[in-house]
Each structure stands twice: as C-alpha cells, then as structure tokens.
Symmetry: C2
Subunit: 303 residues, 2 copies
Amino acid sequence: MIAGGQAQRGVAEIGVSTTYLERLGARSKKAGTVLCLGLDPDLDTLPAGFSRDLAGLERFAALLLEAAVPFAAAVKPNLAFFEAHGSAGLAALERLRGGLPSDLPVIADAKRGDIGSTAARQATALFDQLGADAVTVNPYLGADAVSPLLERIDRFAYVLCRTSNPGAGELQDLVVAADRATDSPAERLHERVARLATGWGPGGTVGLVVGATAPDELARIRALAPGLAFLVPGVGAQGGAVEPVLEHGPAAVGPAGGQPGHGLLVSVSRGIAGAASAGAEGDPFERVRAAAAEWAARLPVLP
Amino acid sequence: MIAGGQAQRGVAEIGVSTTYLERLGARSKKAGTVLCLGLDPDLDTLPAGFSRDLAGLERFAALLLEAAVPFAAAVKPNLAFFEAHGSAGLAALERLRGGLPSDLPVIADAKRGDIGSTAARQATALFDQLGADAVTVNPYLGADAVSPLLERIDRFAYVLCRTSNPGAGELQDLVVAADRATDSPAERLHERVARLATGWGPGGTVGLVVGATAPDELARIRALAPGLAFLVPGVGAQGGAVEPVLEHGPAAVGPAGGQPGHGLLVSVSRGIAGAASAGAEGDPFERVRAAAAEWAARLPVLP
C-alpha cells in the first residue's frame, strides 16, 4: 500500500480549493503551452539500454516524465499500457504518479463509465487511489453512469465524443432523430453527445474528447458546445495534424471566457516518447527533451 | 509477479482447443444452470467477522467463491470493485482468479474498448494477465476499437447493447436513421449495435449485454440477433425479474442451435453475496451456499 499512500499524498497536495480547469489553466500558462504528454509506454518500443520487462518500462517512463514534464501542461497516462502488466504494472503507474509535480494535472485515460454503484468505485480507483485530477469516460451508458466521475468539483471528466480511431464514425456518426424534449435537431450521435454532455455534471467538471483526426467535426463540436474544454488526442502518430486543430480558434482564446485551459488540450504520445529511440545521436533523455520542447512550441498558449 | 504467474497457469489450463461458448456450455450443463455469479465485493457490505480492509474483502470474496461457485455456470468479477483498492486490489483479484476451477469460465466485467493499439493492451491485461475467458466491451468507438478483444477464437467479448442502469436509454434508445449500406431500418441505437455486432469478430466470439431491467428490449434484441449469446445483468438488486427474462425462450433452447451457453447467461451479484449478511441464523458460508443454490434452481438449463 506504499504506492497508494504516495498517490494519496499527491491528492492531498492538490487540495479541494481549486477546480481542475483552474489548475490546468495555471499550469498551461506557466508552461506556455496546451501540450498534454501522453504516457503509454510499451515493451516493443523501449530504446536500447532499457530491459524489455516491467522494470525497464518503468525506468523509461520515469525518464520520459523527467525529460518532458517541464514542457507539458498536463500528463495523460493510458491505464491499459500499465494494466497489460497486471497489478505490478498498476503499482508501477502508482509510483510514477507519486513522483509527479503537485501542480501538474494528471488525466487518467481509462475510458470508464458503468452503472452508478460501479462508477463510484471507478471514481475511488482513479481519483483517490491513483490521484488523478481528470479522467476520460465513455458516454454509451448515459449520464447516470458517469455522474460519480464528474460530481467532485475539484475533479473532471472528459466525455468521449468523436474519437481518433479509424472506425470512430461507425456509431458516432450515425444520424439520430430530432428530440423535442431536449430541443435537439436531427444530428450525428457525437453531436448529440456533445449537446447532452453540456448538461452533465454540476458545472465546470465536464469536457469532451475529440480526435485531431476529425478536424471538421472538432470545429462543429466546439461551436455546438462553446462552454466546454476539449482534450484532443490523435496528433502525430495517428495521423492528425496540428494546424487544422488550432485553426478554428487558437488554444488560449478558449470558448469559455478565454481562460487558458478552457480551450484545447492537445495530447502527444509517440511523437515525444518515440524520440528516445529515433536516431543514434545524443542520449534518449536529451532527444525526448528536445521533442517535448518542439511540440510545446507548436502548441502555444497564445496571449 | 507471483499473482500474475498464478493467473497465467490458469490460462494454460484452459487451453486453446475449445471456444468460450463450448466451455460455457459444458460448465452450464454440468452445473445445470445459466447462473453467472457476479463478484463485486464492497467494504460497506462485508458481514460481521470480516475486517473492513482489503484483506477482509479478499477473505470474504474467497468465501463467496468457495460457497457459490459449485452452483454457477460462470463467474463475473467487476474489476472496478478491486481497482478501487489500487494495485493491491488488482493483485487480490489475480489471487482469487488463480484459485478458481479450470473449467469455470471467468468474465472480466471491465467494459473496455479503445483505439486499436490500446485495445490490444486491454486484451493482454484481461486475457493474459488476469486469465479471463471473456470480457465486456463498450461499442461507442466502433468495431476496430473492440476487435483486439474479440479476435482470439478461444476468448469472447460481450458487447454492451442495452444496459441495466436507469439512464441506459439516454443514448441507447435514440432512434438512428436507416442505413442502406448495412440494410438497416431506422431503429434504436441499441438495436443498431446488436445488428452491427453480429458482423464483428471472426465468428463465435461476440455476444451482447442486455439488462434484465429491459425485458421487452431483450426479447426484441434476441429476435434481431438470434445467433448471439446474451449476458443478462440486473436481476435482483437492480430490479430486474427472472421470469420476463426467461419468457422469450428458455435458457437451454439457445437461439444458435440449442447448445447450452448459446442462449442466456444471467448474472446475480448482491442477491447471493448479500445473503452472507442477511439474518443471524447459520454461518455466512451456508447462507451464501443456500442463496446460490436457490438462484441456480431459478435459472435452470432446461432439457
């Protein structure tokens, strides 16, 4: 339980006096960027000098965090890459989280959501045990299945809206009928999710995930839900470009009042971690550092 | 890694020569029931004599399994109830799983699904590390986000279709437009999911989750996807009744050829675990045993 204790100390340091978006805004302003560092380390892509086991993976993840975190507004560990190593992998993530700076928002990319009694345990697992500031949640079960994850005013949930995978449209682009009760027109399912999500949570605890691979949808959804914050994965390795993401409103001119953190948060994973393995010059730490600095500069918080 | 090793030994014992539905069918026939034992132990509901910590929870879960497993066709641990205790909780589940009989199918109720590279790690986590025979998956991201979880011919995934929570209909009952490409009429989203899921996976590795709280929908979905196996949660504590579930075709007369295991698998959690705390007479083990026997008898495999 030592690791759990470390994570909980992190939580206590966060305090409950600030919202997630306030903390994200402060960190984003300090780092000068809306770059979110994705953390999904994999045995197959460890650079030379790291053993191809969980110990090597944890050591590489620690290097990645030490090198890149100074340039990031937030960090987003994907839990599956740790859970793939069983409870020992989750313990490694708990240790890594315990070592992060207290002003760095941590987004647990877990895509949870379940019937209420289960979602409450998911909230305990992610917020209390792991010490996450924010989580990603799947909307398919409806508001009551995510509400335990968005009812804490000091935490946050990004609801999957239009994801970055190739088959995202199979369900998310289906056209749903107009609904008078919610004053909704006929629209695509992901647009309805954006519309519904604006009414979820006590206010200020809900955002949306929209992949960079769907820039047109992102523009429409930002117009549809101007008060929400957006987490944008899929830049780089998944094929999404930065420019179309930033085109419809730069990051700092956030739709909800212009505070940094209210607009876009753009996640980059392999584009930074992969720099450790690319090329032979320099050491992995410096290559990762340079890649993180470059991505941060490409994703500025504009004045 | 000791616990992981235990789970993997369980996997090796399963072998790859049988499908999940064959194993479920054999076990269901042997136990004479389509009862699936839900495993979601909670500190707040531990009976007297069990310490209100993870050790007490693991000891109670072990008692529950020992008492009820002989009457069950499968067991369904809900991962969130273990993850709520961090990596130590997941380690407890790994130990519990390692102690289960090799002929008992284990369904990891995790509701996963993510972009392909992540879903592949979820498959490693659930199938290889935990040794699950089957998992539950969320369809919102589309087929490519669940395919790594349903491409192994000896494993299985139940796709969330119409869930048992009160707000399930918020998205799942939305009417989606007709689609010529898939020859689909205008229908509710959960019906479209059922239709799409019949084409997912290499065949025989996909089923559906439909809550007992929606018996009319269950009847329609069974008619719409007659070749699929159904996992039915929500009986008992969540308000679903057994009779309407069994009404539209008894469990043994499975829609896909009449094999046991191809029809319904009905999950009961609190209805069995709660017996440990109820009343003062007898010891918890015997009360759980009696409750499991009673539920198994209410959910028979008919000849």
